[in-house]
Amino acid sequence: MAAPRSFLCRLALAYNGSSRGIHGLSGAVPPEGNQRKRRTLLQFLSDHFYDVEALRLYLLQIKMSKVHQENRSLAHIREKYGPYIAGAFFVLKQGGAVKFQDHEWIRPNKRGHFSREFLKLQTVPVQAVDASGCAINYDGLDNLLPLKELQSLSLQHCPHVDDWCLSRLYPLAGSLQELSLSGCPQISERGLACLHHLQNLRRLDISNLPAVSYPGLTRILVEEMLPNCEVLGMDEAQGL
């Protein structure tokens, strides 16, 4: 049934309201006027027929389950190769980059392929992870939290990273020095409040967070909360 399913998926992508792939599932919806204008045939039909509505709900759930599939726990890899390899494999599979201690950055190429050379580095800790733009979510962080020597984590423009994910970062408090959350559409000041566990943080990038309601005030409060940390972004000129 491969052909009909791919046709359905393309149908979903083409007609399904304002969604654009994985980014459409994030909380930053475009303003109401935009949605009104793009009233498509499928939306009209789903207002009048239960079957079409059920079909659209099913397609939405397929999209969500795809994100879950990408974030499944790699327990078998962790048992075989250790936590560092499992974390690195997870990040590389999602399209991010990984840096082991005393080694260069490992990135997948344009087609998503990456060399398996890092499988030899079982005892070398992972120093930095760049997961920008990846579809990492709360469950996927399972694979990153055992990296006890992680010093730099970049979660820029990740559409599924939200306040719940930030509350989960406290196990990295011992080593994490640099954290970048710039451009994540679902992070608000409530999630930033639980970063107070990360006492070793020296650089925090919270620029361009659309869901934070009072950027200037939030920046002041975060600076008070983390006195040793340099907070980037959210200039005081923007809405105090």
């Binding site: 939306q43 709900l57 409040a193």
Partner: protein, 486 residues
Amino acid sequence: MFRRALRLRSSRVLLVRRLGTRRGGSTLDWDGKVSDIKKKIGSILPGETWAPLYDTRHLPPEHSDVVIVGGGVLGLSVAFWLKQLQKKRNGIRVLVVERDHTYSKASTVLSVGGIRQQFSLPENVQLSLFSVNFLRNINEYLAVVDSPPLDLQFNPSGYLLLASEQGAANLENNVKMQRQEGAKVGLMSPQQLQNKFPWMNVKGVALASYGMEDEGWFDPWSLLQGLRRKVQSMGVLFCQGEVTRFTTSSNSMVTSSGEEVVLKRIYEVHVKMNNSLEYQPVECAIVINAAGAWSGQIAELAGIGKGPPGTLKGTKLPVEPRKRYVYVWHCPQGPGLEMPFIADTNGVYFRREGLGNNYLGGLSPTEEEEPDPINLDVDHDFFQDKVWPHLAQRVPAFQSLKVQNAWAGYYDYNTFDQNGVVGPHPLVVNMYFATGFSGHGLQHAPAVGRAVAEMVLEGHFQTIDMSPFLFSRFHLGEKVLEDNIF
């Protein structure tokens, strides 16, 4: 096509009228009569309600499989899970009867909105863990096509429970049990507390437990609206009315020891409309009592508790409304963003609200000081005398504060053991309870809804075993006490 015919017909009727006015003045309201006839014909068309005598759109349907009394978060959660777990689409018709659609006195919306796993009963911890999982994935569970995703405004700041010398051993045991169940809770000594929260005065604190993850507070109104929206899209019917009567049929049976037991079944629910005497008898198979603070009254209507005291027949549902106050104050030098939801040794609880140095909190009064639950008026002296001294002692910055706002809400207080009642009644066999949670109903609502739906559809609890919470414990005298109630 019908409408064009109607228009033509009406124009021809007017012509006829002008010609035949000599026939006499019996048809003074001809235009009114014509518009009546047009409405009646319009109601025969497919998709419209057919009500030849009078308009019945506001009345509930005459038959329904399940009637849920109470449309708060527990009632809607049961409706959601009933629809979610039904095997066939539209296989079960559910009606939610809610007296007040503005929810002005409902416990759900007046609640402080906290969720925690720090309980002393393992079942309560499991309920909280399930519910927090539900809230985390709420946009998958409550996804409605073409609606924006739900924002619960969850603050994952955690709960901090403080214990004095007497309560320290208890706290430690509780934390051990909570960690075994899977909650992420840690213990802190007074020194660690002082380092972490320099604005706190740790005098009198022997031990503290801090929830690192999955604990915090959220907006109950958005959860309610999200559930409502999803449940309406799944086909659950809503009715604004009050349940005034249950019509029951009895069946007398003999137990194996020769005792005669009278089992009752509710076969009809009378739903009365607001501000009118009009009522609709709804024939039903199952009734779910999720009426919150008024569950006791609903149970009495079904005849629960009408019998000689000490027998199962005479055991009432011990849920009654208790008034609790919540105060909001502003303190410019108060704690910052890192402040968790703090529950002090004497029961005073408070948390941060928003970014503007506002805080809210309260205290559950002792049994002797219980206020009269007849209305929701706020007693400001209670804050001055009982709450403020403790606040000022725990957080010295709170010595100067200004109360901005206060409100009162009801706890559906279970006078027996302050824990919920879930499951069917042994004698009124088709009434299921989902009430009595005494202040922690909101945080357990998704899990309890699922438990009741499983009980109704499968006949037993599947995900979480809620058998300690059945009604029969009131007759048997088995208390399931919960220590951490604020």
